[in-house]
Symmetry: C2
Subunit: 730 residues, 2 copies
């Protein structure tokens, strides 16, 4: 259903003498004002009369025009043209246009079956008289927030240009609360810090933990999606949508004036974007509500992305998987097959090399995981370390580090392919690039063809370490372009993608739903490295997940990592029930049960929840939410009457009070509640849990305590009367 | 025939107390001495007792060791390891080894049928005690010069390392004469300057002409192959052989001490090579003689390259071609199909776009060239500008600039393919990359597949403008690696390659003979831009051509470029006979007749030489040579009794005196001499020529005057007695 129309009436759009324009959200709660302040584009945003964004400037600064030099006239000396580089001042309003949309569309997979895109739109065309350049800014105001972008139309005075900096401001309404990670061109793998804006500078260095590749740019630089809470209790989230062939945006805070400004990721020449008109910037997004649950439920970022561009999507399916991974992450096993300190692909003789005896991706172990997956109904088994090159894959800026097609001698690809197939399980391919991106692109077609030829339909990619081409970073335009290249190329081969260490998602999975999930944040692996803060999972849905699903790899049941690796002192800062709840609270169509089969075998009653939980949904209800404190979600499984509820909380624990009114009326369900035992605690007693069964209806209510770093999970299944015999009502 | 042996006797190798080693060439004329000077590796070279290279240091400087950081231990702070970065001092001699070779091998194509590789070898293993690092230096001394390289063996103390600079010295025997072009990371397209070493600094800026991409590094920086003439009349050429996965070497002169030192091409992080032991550097080559002709005849660089790695070479054939090219170079026509100022591939609607009416690669014109090629026995027609994207291909740092597969609407690929085929002619593919190398690699397989599917067996590649990835240069390790990738990939599709703007060749065509030719110097196009110096072609064989054949595109008959393009003031600084002689003096298995068919039609008697001349040879004799002054060569056509002679000279003209003793005894030949008329002059009267026929034998002699910027060409065909009737004896 599509309603495109132009209407002055419907938009509450008024033009005043100074050229100020007003735009209101369909429900009237959000109001955006745009005007030219002495020729400088300026906007502001309010929610129910409260300031969200105070008057803030818009525009870009360009790099000086390149020397003019024509081929064949190589004899002519280059002429440096003296052209104005500011694209943020000296503007007059050339035209305005109003539009609106109210449309409902269906994602290929998602949290809900139907997504409504309902907004009022204002498009302003600005002319910079001195240069005769035109800049268009398009605003879309939804009930849940604002999106706007720059558009560079086809014109004589601006065709090829290099962005020196985007100058988009987000002026904050005071010294408000931020849930932030340090701005960095290479990694988002940081724990969150909750502080006032004025405290960011002093807390900045303490917020940095080492990473395989990292580069901060400012002591008040933070990353998006940035979650904020104003002093009059508005929840605000700033991010971007549809990051395509442009540099990833971070935010830099002017902490005198409490103004965030966009800070694009530069290349090594300090250029922040090579553009050719006609083109557009990504959308800058501001999701707003006075109820934190609305932030989590927002579909604004998806709505600002283009519709699906893949015609046949029949091969794209959510996946629940286990994998040969956690045993390497914990140090129990290794990716590498030998102990050689250095190898050369095509030269090193692996067949005659001495195995190190710790290689996890061996035939026997892979079969064990396939057996486990088949027995418990998992779709797939991820196998890392199957291919040659792992001996020296990391930290050497090695160009030809992997070929992505040659297995280690103890990984019999055809045999395992057939074994998996006969067990109804897929093997998930793994392409770690070690950041050597030219090398990956060179091998990509053959690597994907190998997958297609051997029934692999999903790949996990990785970009650990510094990028090659050297000097590029993970979030610059070069790499943004690469990630999209990989997504499209994978789609050509009907391959689903799960990218690790890639740029944070911006809703592009609407357009390319084969981009099933990404990492792009501090995932569960950090529980085996340093342990994440207990409230980490209460913040990810408000931050990282705003852009798209995460391959968070939950399901850790053994929190004491030394049980796997005596040399490790790491501890997973979560209770076992918190880990169960993540399958519901951390929305993703790709969910791993990350711990080892032998551990799950010890907790089969709890593991039942992971077996039961869905990975695709018809509906989702955010029941309780406060960033850093707790999140409670209920989701209805795709094409089923079953619901699943999850709650996670932070350091302080939480007592949840929920109503089951999301259930269908006049139906009876059996709820199985997996909750922290009274003595449970993420540190001291993480494995203490209770499992209880109740009969519930849409009138039922639950008061449930979650331990510090804990949570609970509920599966709710429609029941016949005969099923409920002997089960208490809740 | 292979003779590998170890023999102290045969090597004249003596070890003195200080550890100095001596090595002599097989004929004893060249003597190399190696020793450690206070722990610093040092060598020197003499020819017949005269200094060629005075005592000169060897070694490398490394970049500081990278921070040590292990994956999975991302929590640990990186540790900066304090490791000695010098790899040029503190050495002791750990081992020496002697070897020799006398072997004859056959190139797939070349100047001669058989190439003899005859050398004595000394290999020294040096140990740097403080670091326990081993460095091997391998010297090979031929009768025509010295080659040596660094070898980094497999060892614990040196595995991954980054070269800060190679410190190879070439200490000159005084203030000698150099024939040089400015050192530059992006272009070799410069005219040569002849000067004393001490004059380089003051002449440097005057020697620079603008280029689409250029970056000099020092006012005494020069490029290799560097031709030198000592004050006691030795001819010396310094270059490198087998440049593989390493940065291209230039030379920087210490003009106080007259010492050249290697200057590798850096990446944007100022790193000059990322290496992993075991590995080797390219060979550093010093070709020496007291007769300039020996320099031109030297096969030392080929001998230092690896044997052919392509198993089936049946598809590799020398090519004589015409092409749609000179009309664009002169400005008569255009590459682009429309006058659109900017295009986007896949978006711009070319089918409905207005043609500019100046597009040369149109069906009719291509057919005209095919007709001309067929009529006159050419193998192929190069067509540039056949594919979409040329409207804005240059100077915009545009990433997706070409797709290499989509023709312009007026280029009917299947029709022209069939038309060419029915005329016994091939079309040569053109892949201009505009320096956007990631884009080229992404499209390479499809582009080569299109060629394979449509009977194209040769491609001209181009790298005009600054390189993308931005910050890389044409001659850094990144691009050196790319050019090799393209050569190997082309070989996979049985495609012959002709690379323009690529790094200068270093004899790799021995190993990959599908690398038919390259540009990598100021070619004939400059005659249409600014005009080259009249002696340019007397220097190229002593410099650029030492590394491999050049696609020089000779054969210009119309020297007044304004005849094609009224806006041009350019003049081709050569006589017509000079242009004919180039087919012999500028050895290449790829030869173009570059001028327009309509021009050739006016000079069919002279054009006959271009039709007749061979492109592959059984033998070559350098009859006369002096760099900058004149070159006279005789070559015997492959599998034929015919010979061709060429002479070119510079500003001063030249009177050649040659004997025909290279001809077979007791045979009669008819020689057709194409020579400058008495009034000929490259500037004033370039088209004045004479054609004379004589009967010659191996006793004949010729005294022939060439005009300033002139030359002569002779075709010599075996004759029956009946053929010679009425033809005068020479």
């Amino acid at each position: 259903m599509k309603h495109f129309f132009l209407s002055m009436l419907s938009l509450l759009l008024t033009v005043n003498i100074a050229g100020a324009q007003e735009l209101a959200s369909p429900d009237g709660n959000l109001k955006m004002k745009f005007g030219l302040n002495n020729g400088a584009p300026t906007y502001q945003l309010t929610f129910k009369g409260k300031d969200v964004i105070k008057p803030s400037k818009l525009g870009l600064e360009l790099k000086e025009d390149q020397a003019k030099l024509e081929f064949g006239a190589e004899i002519e000396k280059p002429i440096q043209r003296d052209v104005k580089t500011t694209l943020y001042d000296g503007f007059t309003l050339a035209a305005t246009q109003a539009a609106a949309q109210d449309e409902t569309w269906q994602p290929v997979w998602g949290e809900v079956k139907d997504i409504r895109s309902h907004y009022n739109e204002l498009t302003v065309t600005l002319n910079q008289k001195e240069t005769d350049r035109n800049l268009i800014i398009r605003f879309r105001l939804f009930n849940d927030g604002l999106g706007f972008r720059y558009e560079f139309p086809d014109q004589k005075s601006l065709t090829y240009f290099v962005v020196k900096e985007e100058k988009t401001q987000f002026a904050m309404p005071g010294d408000i609360t931020a849930y932030w990670i340090p701005g960095d061109y290479d990694t988002q793998e940081y724990d969150f810090t909750t502080s006032k804006l004025s405290e960011i500078r002093s807390l900045f260095h303490g917020a940095i933990t080492p990473n395989a590749s990292q580069r901060q740019f400012s002591e008040t630089g933070v990353q998006t999606p940035l979650m904020l809470k104003t002093n009059d209790n508005l929840y605000v989230n700033i991010h971007e949508a549809a990051l395509v062939d442009y540099s990833c945006m971070s935010l830099n805070l002017d902490d005198k004036n409490m103004i965030f400004e966009s800070w694009l990721t530069p290349d090594i020449q300090d250029s922040k974007g090579y553009l050719q008109a006609p083109c557009v910037s990504p959308w800058r997004t501001i999701v707003v509500s006075d109820d934190a649950r609305d932030i989590l439920a927002s579909k604004l970022i998806l709505n600002l992305n283009e519709p699906c561009k893949i015609k046949d999507v029949s091969w794209i399916k959510p996946v629940k998987y286990v994998g040969i991974w956690w045993e390497m992450i914990t140090g129990k096993s290794e990716w590498a097959y030998t102990s050689l300190p250095s190898v050369q692909l095509g030269i090193t003789d692996y067949v005659h090399a001495k195995p190190n005896g710790r290689h996890a991706a061996n035939n026997e172990n892979v079969k064990k995981y396939i057996d486990f997956a088949a027995k418990h109904g998992f779709d797939a088994v991820l196998v890392e370390g199957w291919n040659i090159g792992w001996e020296d894959w990391f930290g050497h800026s090695k160009d030809y580090v992997f070929d992505f097609v040659t297995p280690y001698p103890d990984f019999d690809l055809p045999m395992l392919r057939d074994y998996a197939k006969s067990n109804g399980v897929r093997i998930i391919m793994h392409h770690e690039t070690s950041g050597s991106v030219r090398n990956y692109e060179r091998h990509m077609d053959k690597a994907f063809q190998l997958m297609a030829d051997n029934s692999y339909n999903a790949v996990k990619t990785g970009y650990v370490g510094n990028i090659i081409p050297r000097g590029e970073t993970h979030y610059g335009q070069w790499m943004v372009n690469h990630y999209m290249y990989a997504v499209k190329k994978a789609a050509d081969y009907k391959i689903m993608l799960n990218a690790h260490e890639a740029v944070r998602p911006t809703g592009l999975h609407r357009t390319y739903p084969n981009l099933l999930a990404q990492e792009s944040a501090q995932g569960t692996e950090y529980q085996a490295f340093i342990g994440s803060k207990p409230n980490h999972a209460t913040l990810l849905p408000f931050t990282r997940l705003m852009g798209g699903p995460m391959d968070y790899t939950p399901g850790i049941f053994e929190m004491d990592i030394s049980k796997y690796n005596p040399n490790s002192k790491a501890h997973c800062n979560a209770t076992l029930c918190n880990q169960l709840a993540l399958y519901v609270t951390m929305y993703s169509p790709l969910q791993m049960a990350a711990d080892l089969p032998e551990t799950y075998e010890k907790f089969m009653d709890a593991f039942q929840f992971i077996k039961d939980v869905a990975v695709d949904w018809d509906n989702s209800k955010y029941l309780e939410a406060e960033p850093g404190e707790h999140i409670t979600v209920a989701r209805k499984a795709k094409g089923s009457g079953s619901w699943f509820v999850g709650n996670v909380c932070g350091e302080n624990g939480y007592t949840s009070n929920i109503a089951f009114d999301f259930l269908e009326a006049n139906k009876t369900y059996i709820a199985t509640i997996y909750s922290d035992a009274k003595t449970a605690h993420y540190k001291a007693n993480p494995q203490a849990y209770e499992i209880r069964k109740f009969v519930v209806t849409n009138k039922s209510k639950l008061k449930q305590r979650s331990a510090p770093g804990g949570g609970y999970a509920i599966s709710i299944v429609e029941a016949e009367k005969s099923d409920v015999k002997g089960i208490k009502k809740l």
